[in-house]
């Protein structure tokens, strides 16, 4: 039997908008993945620590406050420092398209803005996860 994809859905920073994170968490679970949801108010250290402990293949970051340029990059930087650079990291929220190239460069493999279907996210993860 194929090993299930393990995903950490995480809410970095102080942002309380969790509607999207919860919907995505549930959609990934319904698509057969194992999902861990961190809950709110996570620092980059807490997220990476959970990712290490849970041995996840994917981290999905959700942020609608506008702090993505700082907080998303904090997470990918710390992942690399911990030797977990092969974890697929994706992000969602209110992310202006001008910010996307810099985020990609920092290791956010996919950015999903408003209007994205859950299926697009599922497909992206299946296609890009390193197993």
């Amino acid at each position: 039997m194929e090993k299930k994809i393990r995903v950490l859905v995480a809410k970095p920073g102080l942002d309380g908008h969790d509607r999207g994170a919860k919907i995505v968490a549930r959609a990934l679970r319904d698509a057969g993945m194992e999902v861990i949801y961190t809950g709110l108010h996570q620092t980059a250290e807490m997220i990476v620590e959970t990712a290490v402990q849970e041995d996840v293949d994917v981290i999905g970051l959700s942020l609608l406050s506008g702090a993505h340029m700082t907080l998303f990059r904090d997470v990918t930087k710390l992942l690399r420092e911990k030797g977990m650079g092969d974890v697929l990291v994706v992000g969602g929220g209110i992310i202006p398209k001008e910010d996307v190239p810099a985020l990609k460069k920092a290791g956010i493999a996919g950015c999903f803005g408003p209007g994205t279907t859950c299926e697009e996210i599922v497909e992206f993860i299946k296609k890009n996860v390193k197993k």
Binding site: G13, L14, D15, G16, H17, D18, R19, A21, K22, I23, A25, R26, A27, Y37, T38, G39, L40, H41, T43, L64, S65, G66, A67, M69, T70, L71, D74, I94, P96, K97, E98, G113, P114, G115, T117, C118, E119
Partner: protein, 547 residues
């Protein structure tokens, strides 16, 4: 047509003699909608008892007898970004373009009671609101603005008493009596646990602080709305219209019970309770929601012993639904906002915020926010809907739907009561689960093309979005941190220590904390320092992560 003759003028249902577009018609919240409503659908309602006149019990048709013929709603755009200087400029811009009330959006550190230089504030300065860390910042935010004749609403919850203290102290330092300033603090912690999630303290001390503001406000700041009981965030988190209505009014009744339990006279504080609702896409359902809210609130407050007519009034602010805005073809959001704003006006709102077309992409640009304000002005000045009171009153469909939503609300009240009340239901995750379920259903229906969103899953275009995005002053954060450093260095250290020490002692007891908080504010204690004392005494709330 078949040969059968259709009865005219009867209450019979319309015969289905042509195929319809869908097998099932429903409101956005899933209430079944028939092809026609007739007097039969509202025959159980008694005009004088269930509807009555605007300005009279049960206030279904409006809280004032003349409504917009007397005075238009307050045009109040929620705004805030970057530093106090930048937001002050935005307020002046909005007032110059005809806005009639102010509404402050704070950044996340402020919402959580942290100063800009706190480690957890990293990356968040001024991002989704203005950073206000002390009385000093509040002075800048309102400099050159006549706080004695414009009302200000502040979306602040956990640290509401402190931020309100900044506002009161700023007015007083300018020689304006606290008895004449007007405005609103959101101060609604229950919906924070349920939906918006910017809580700080556990429920018990949070409720104590809220009742403190009710008591202090009714005695000292009588023109201030000490709470804005909010459904907006519940709806944005994905609830249905019925859930928004039921959970919000349920929260409101919970505050009343806590205040009465403290020994406050209901007629002293109830006139200053205000509400805040969402204006979503389903036009008639939204109108029915506002109307039902007025009737339920009036009935419930009366049964809780309120005697003053003013105590029975469900006065509310409305904001169009941010979650309905699309990043695709953003200009068409202007049309969505127009419809939503019209629903709020036809529902009798006292105050209105219209969203800007670019808000699915970033904070609004000056041009986008001006168009949003102009949308309200067009409804007010050109459409004619303001010329008569409750123009949809008596519509068979609207009255039926209003009644239906009221009945569904009472079903939720019963369910919450069975769980032991609002706070136990929060602790059991009841509201959170109900909302997550509704949000998931909505998304799934959209993903599966059972529900259409123009520009997203129908009438799509593959053109790149070309819309200017608001850019913030990159020096703002540095300026703010320097200001904080200077403030901490320059203030009277002995006075600062004394006021914070007294606050700590009072918090450990059971006195009203507002006077102590005001003393801290006047000694230029920062938001983070003052809130920090309360954090140490009260502890912090942690929520169960449910999806």
């Amino acid at each position: 047509m078949t040969g059968k003759k259709k009865k005219t003028g009867s209450c019979e249902q319309l015969k289905n003699d042509t195929p319809e577009r869908k097998t099932k018609f429903e409101t956005l919240s899933g209430i079944g909608v028939k092809n026609l409503y007739t007097p039969k659908d509202i025959s159980h309602l008694d005009y004088n008892k269930d509807m009555g006149l605007p300005g009279d019990f049960p206030y279904l048709r409006g809280v004032h007898s003349t409504m917009y013929r007397g005075r238009l709603w307050t045009m109040r755009q929620f705004a805030g970004f970057g530093s106090a200087e930048e937001t002050n400029q935005r307020y002046k811009y909005l007032l110059n373009h005809g806005e009639t009330g102010l509404s402050v959006a704070f950044d996340y550190p402020t919402l959580y009671g942290y100063d800009t230089d706190h480690p957890l504030a990293r990356g968040e300065f001024g991002k989704c609101g203005v950073a206000i860390s002390s009385l000093k910042d509040m002075e800048i935010l309102f400099s050159g603005i006549h706080v004695d004749n414009v009302t200000t609403s502040m979306t602040i919850n956990g640290p509401a008493p402190i931020v309100w203290g900044f506002y009161i102290a700023n007015a007083e330092n300018r020689g304006i009596d606290r008895r004449i300033i007007g405005g609103t603090i959101q101060n609604d912690i229950l919906k924070e646990y349920i939906a918006q999630k910017s809580y700080i303290f556990p429920p018990e001390p949070s409720m104590r602080l809220i009742v403190d503001t009710f008591e202090f406000g009714s005695k000292e700041v009588p023109r201030w709305n000490t709470i804005s009981i909010s459904g907006y965030h519940i709806r944005e988190a994905g609830s249905t219209a019925v859930q928004e209505l039921a959970f919000t009014l349920g929260d409101g009744l919970e505050y009343v019970r806590w205040a009465v339990k403290r020994g406050l006279n209901i007629d002293d504080f109830a006139p200053r309770l205000s509400f805040f609702f969402n204006a979503h896409n389903d036009f008639f359902e939204e109108i029915a929601k506002y109307r039902a809210a007025r009737r339920i609130w009036a009935k419930e407050l009366k049964s809780l012993g309120a005697k003053k007519p003013r105590s029975l009034l469900m006065r509310f602010h409305t904001q169009t639904a941010g979650c309905t805005l699309t990043a695709q073809q953003p200009e068409i959001n202007i049309v969505r906002v127009t419809m939503q704003a019209l629903a709020a006006v036809l529902g009798g709102t006292q105050s209105l915020h219209t969203n800007s077309m670019d808000e699915a992409l970033a904070l609004p640009s000056e041009k986008a926010v001006r168009i949003a304000l102009r949308t309200q002005q067009i409804i007010a000045e050109e459409s004619g809907v303001t010329d008569t009171v409750d123009p949809l009153g008596g519509s068979y469909y609207v009255e039926w739907l209003t009644d239906k939503m009221e009945n569904e609300t009472y079903k939720y009240f019963d369910r919450v009561e069975k769980l032991g009340g609002v706070i136990p239901a929060i602790e059991k995750g009841f509201f959170q689960r109900e909302i997550a379920e509704a949000a998931y259903k909505y998304q799934k229906e959209t993903d599966e093309n059972k529900r259409f969103i123009v520009g997203v899953n129908k009438y799509k275009m593959n053109e790149p979005v070309e819309i200017p995005i608001l850019k913030m002053d990159e020096k703002g954060e540095e300026r703010q941190i320097n200001r904080l450093k200077k403030l901490r260095k320059d203030r009277d250290k002995a006075k600062f220590d004394r006021t914070l020490g007294r606050l700590r002692k009072a918090a450990e007891g059971d006195e009203n904390l507002m006077p102590y908080i005001l003393d801290c504010v006047h000694s230029y204690a920062t938001l983070g320092e003052t809130c920090g004392v309360l954090r140490e005494v009260f502890g912090e709330y942690k929520e169960p992560a449910i999806y």
